[in-house]
């Protein structure tokens, strides 16, 4: 029942549902297209793109050292993507994973610095994890509270919270927690705070995979997950079903923040063993795109995270072997995200050209 004017040259119609096979083909096509576009900067540096992509794959997966580093990159990204899932399902635009991770790490580091070596290792690690979850949870709760009570714009709120957390981190790094004066470096934590390794990689990967399973179950089989899904579809329906929309919003944000905080703990205790203000390093932002592109499916998140981690790690190998700037990784990732974002359009909409539309009318 749209405006009846002359039929435009190109018309869009929402597709009912595309055959999943074709949808998958379009998505794979978009990744290929991204790789082709992404080869432009590689060519500019005078390197054969086939060779470069080969190096990226080999340099991230071909031996155990590379693989471990790739997994190390993937862990926080995957955990944060999982954390954001329920928020987006609820249509709550939490772009504060960066800050939630950072603040979680701050709380975790507080425990490590004050208790590391003084209490049994396992207890210390456990306390660090709890502190991380609490810190991240607090950072998620605040925007949830204000959204529920005053309808404060959550996108802008969570964005500001990121920089407040990072700023606090900067202060701690250069102030109270600084090691030798003037170094701006927090001393390495006591060894007892280190996460144990499993198969040579910090056990964070197990936590991440457990979280995948947890999130899958949480979203698909629990009452909480059901509430979140109903709110995301229609707040009115949620109220009709007797749900307390405001509380569910806050609760979900606490959970999301807590998981981001755990991501911070994993980076801290599993990889860095010290605190820096850049501990999140953009992971919180990238996770948002991962979460969105995987359409909130926990298992798809593994695939997309793996793809981005491979590009990231592979590019640093590429840099060492062929002197291609590491920034190529960001360019390729950016193009990849653009292409995948755009591909959804072709999955959701039919493009109808005028002549064809006329025929449809006659038929």
């Amino acid at each position: 029942m749209s405006d009846v004017k002359k039929t435009p040259l190109i018309r869009l119609a929402k597709r009912d549902a595309m055959d999943p096979k074709y949808a998958m083909l379009i998505r794979i096509g978009s990744i290929l297209l991204a790789l082709i576009i992404g080869s432009i900067p590689i060519i500019l540096t005078g390197v054969n793109p086939f060779k470069a992509y080969g190096v990226i794959i080999k340099g991230s997966l071909s031996n155990s050292i590379y693989l471990k580093q790739t997994i190390k990159i993937a862990i926080p990204l995957l955990v944060c993507s999982l954390a954001i899932g329920p928020c987006f399902k609820m249509k709550f635009w939490n772009i504060g994973a960066e800050g939630q991770l950072t603040f979680g790490a701050i709380c975790s580091a507080f425990v490590a610095i004050n208790l590391g070596g003084k209490i049994p290792s396992l207890l210390c690690i456990l306390l660090m994890a709890i502190a991380g979850a609490l810190g991240g949870g607090l950072w998620g709760f605040l925007p949830g509270l204000f959204k529920a009570k005053f309808n404060t714009n959550e996108t802008l709120f969570t964005l500001m919270m990121n920089y407040i957390a990072i700023g606090l981190g900067a202060w701690l790094q250069g102030g109270p927690w600084e090691g030798r004066k003037g170094t701006q470096i927090v001393p390495m934590f006591d060894k007892s705070t280190y996460l144990p390794e499993v198969f040579g990689v910090q056990c964070g990967w197990i936590v991440a995979l457990l979280l995948v399973v947890f999130m899958h179950i949480y979203m698909n089989y629990t009452k909480h997950g059901y509430e979140v899904a109903v709110i995301g579809d229609s707040e009115n329906t949620a109220r009709y079903a007797g749900m307390n929309v405001g509380w569910i919003m806050m609760r979900t944000m606490i959970l999301s923040g807590a998981i981001c905080g755990i991501a911070g703990f994993l980076v801290l205790a599993g990889a860095n063993h010290t605190f820096t203000k850049t501990i999140a390093n953009g992971v919180g932002f990238t996770a948002i795109t991962v979460s969105w592109l995987s359409q909130l499916n926990a298992f798809v998140m593994i695939a997309i995270t793996a793809l981005l981690a491979v590009i990231s790690k592979g590019s640093s190998t590429l840099n060492k072997q062929l002197q291609v700037p590491t920034a190529v990784s960001e360019i390729v990732s950016g193009v990849l995200l653009f292409c995948m974002l755009s591909s959804e359009f072709f999955i959701n909409y039919k493009i109808i050209f005028r002549s064809k539309a006329d025929k449809e009318v006659k038929a």
């Binding site: 009846v4 629990t222 009452k223 109903v230 009115n236 329906t237 009709y240 007797g242």
Partner: protein
């Protein structure tokens, strides 16, 4: 010298898919006249006017302006022909001033706010509006916003104004003011079309009345020669026999006592005003009224979804104990053991989750049950299969998103769920809207079944023929007030039609 006749419609026809919205409409609109377009909901008034304002184009027939045949292809064309429509939903930018809104989209207008203000003032003075062009929209009342819409149309030089139910949102005083303005415009030789259901207003302000019924043109009469009764008769037509089975329940008891119920919306408009009635077990209580007379608010208030200003809603238990529902949330109402089924008007926006399948939608009522953190999918699954089978829902599976089902099947899913627990109170809003005949009858039977099970069923409907044959008693709402409660077995369509259109139940005498 201008023609007296501004616009003439000849044999206008418009269809939406299989639905004929307008057929063989002939209408003549004169300058210096106010024409009321009268008809029930769904009689095709708005569709017809949308064709004049360029939103739709007719499938057949001709439109003449000053004896020249014209084609109105877009809202802009309509403006160019001097036709301006004031829709029910205003298109205004909240943070802009009145003047800024008025010049929005005008191509040949220079951005000289002072000149605009002057021109707006001139228009206002001419017709007796009271508008501050510098005032922001968000500071305005509904009636002021409406005024801006009217000025906007006049500013664009409209000679023919169409107002779609302008008084629905106005207080009586504001309505009087609007009518004064309309009379001034009439003196200025404008042609005015007023879409309304309110007979008192029709008789008050119009010169002629054109009547539509079910998409067809019934005729035009001079207002002077018309009475409320004669207009109602033309509007509702003769009763059509539907043969809906209406058994009698042996021993009806009071179930839901509503007294003095008043609710106010965000704009401060009283959506329900001192509503009092009782719903009984074993009866279908019809709720009749023009769209927007407070039906939606009534049902939502009973279910705890709409904030209540005053009044009480008492649920009477089988043992005679009374439970006050005012002040309780939907969840609290359920927790105190008051079973209520509710089929809301907005099926996908309130009653169901469009992106989920039947099973998950069945869960919307039972999700909270049990102590486990996991939801129980077994019972909803069984219920979904039962509804699927019993109500013959057409869907590939119980996981298929309900959004992609047809309207009739969506409604079966919703009604099926709501009657599944045999609730002592069942509220339904427009339960058969948009459904085909067979599905409609299926729904009627389900409701009657519930009634015979001893439920107190409320049926908010729009087709009087159905209300008359399905219900036992009918509450008629008009402007948020109860204008009458009638026995559906003895009343007539004309009587209800009159109650629906008489403000404040002045003419209501039954009971």
């Amino acid at each position: 010298m201008q023609n007296k006749c501004a616009i003439e419609l000849k044999n206008i026809r418009k269809t939406f898919g299989p639905v004929v919205a307008n057929d063989e409409i002939n209408l003549q609109i004169n300058r210096g006249e106010i024409l009321c377009l009268l008809g029930e909901n769904g009689s095709g008034k708005t569709t017809l006017m949308n064709m004049l304002s360029g939103i739709y184009q007719p499938d057949g027939g001709e439109i003449y302006k000053d004896d020249q045949q014209i084609a109105i292809k877009s809202p802009k064309d309509a403006y160019d022909y001097g036709i301006g429509m004031i829709h029910q939903h205003y298109h205004l930018v909240d943070v802009f001033t009145a003047a800024q809104n008025i010049i929005l989209g005008l191509e040949n207008e220079k951005m000289d706010i002072n000149a605009v203000n002057d021109k707006v003032k001139a228009i206002c003075d001419k017709y007796g509006f009271n508008v501050d062009p510098k005032k922001k929209i968000y500071d305005m009342s509904v009636s002021q916003k409406q005024t801006i819409e009217i000025v906007k149309v006049l500013y664009r030089g409209a000679e023919i104004l169409i107002l779609d139910e302008p008084t629905a949102v106005l207080t009586p005083q504001e309505t009087d003011k609007l009518f004064a303005v309309l009379r001034n415009m009439k003196k200025d030789n404008k042609a005015i079309i007023l879409i309304t259901h309110k007979l008192a207003e029709v008789l008050d302000v119009s010169d002629k009345v054109a009547i539509l019924r079910k998409g067809r043109y019934i005729g035009t009469v001079n207002t002077k020669e018309a009475t409320a009764q004669s207009l109602t008769d033309m509007m509702v037509g003769h009763s059509v026999k539907l043969n809906i089975d209406r058994p009698v329940y042996p021993n009806p008891q009071d179930k839901l006592q509503i007294s003095g119920l008043t609710v106010v919306d965000n704009d401060g408009v009283r959506k329900l005003d001192n509503v009092t009635f009782t719903a009984k077990t074993g009866e279908i209580l019809g709720v009749a009224g023009i769209a927007g007379s407070g039906q939606k608010e009534l049902l939502e208030a009973i279910t705890g979804l709409y904030p209540i200003k005053e009044g009480s809603i008492k649920f009477i238990r089988d043992d005679g104990a009374q439970e006050e529902l005012v002040g309780k949330t939907p969840m609290q109402i359920r927790q105190v053991g008051v079973g209520m089924g509710f089929v809301p008007e907005d099926r996908l926006g309130m009653g169901l989750v469009g992106s989920m399948g039947m099973t998950s939608n069945m869960m919307l009522r039972s999700w909270k049950s049990g102590k486990s953190i996991f939801f129980n999918k077994k019972n909803p699954e069984e219920l979904a299969n039962k509804v699927w089978k019993d109500l013959e829902v057409v869907t590939p599976s119980t996981e298929f998103p309900v959004r992609r089902m047809s309207g009739g099947n969506i409604q079966k899913v919703l009604v099926g769920r709501e009657i599944a627990s045999n609730p002592p109170v069942l509220l339904t809003a427009y339960a058969v809207r948009g459904l085909d005949i067979n599905t409609s009858y299926a729904i009627y039977n389900l409701l009657t079944e519930q009634k015979m099970n001893g439920s107190a069923v409320m049926y908010v409907g729009e087709e009087l023929d159905v209300l008359l044959e399905l219900c036992d008693r009918i509450v008629v709402l008009c402007g948020g007030q109860v204008s009458g409660i009638v026995d559906a077995r003895t009343t007539t369509k004309e009587e209800i039609g009159l109650l629906m259109t008489s403000v404040g139940g002045k003419e209501a005498t039954n009971e």
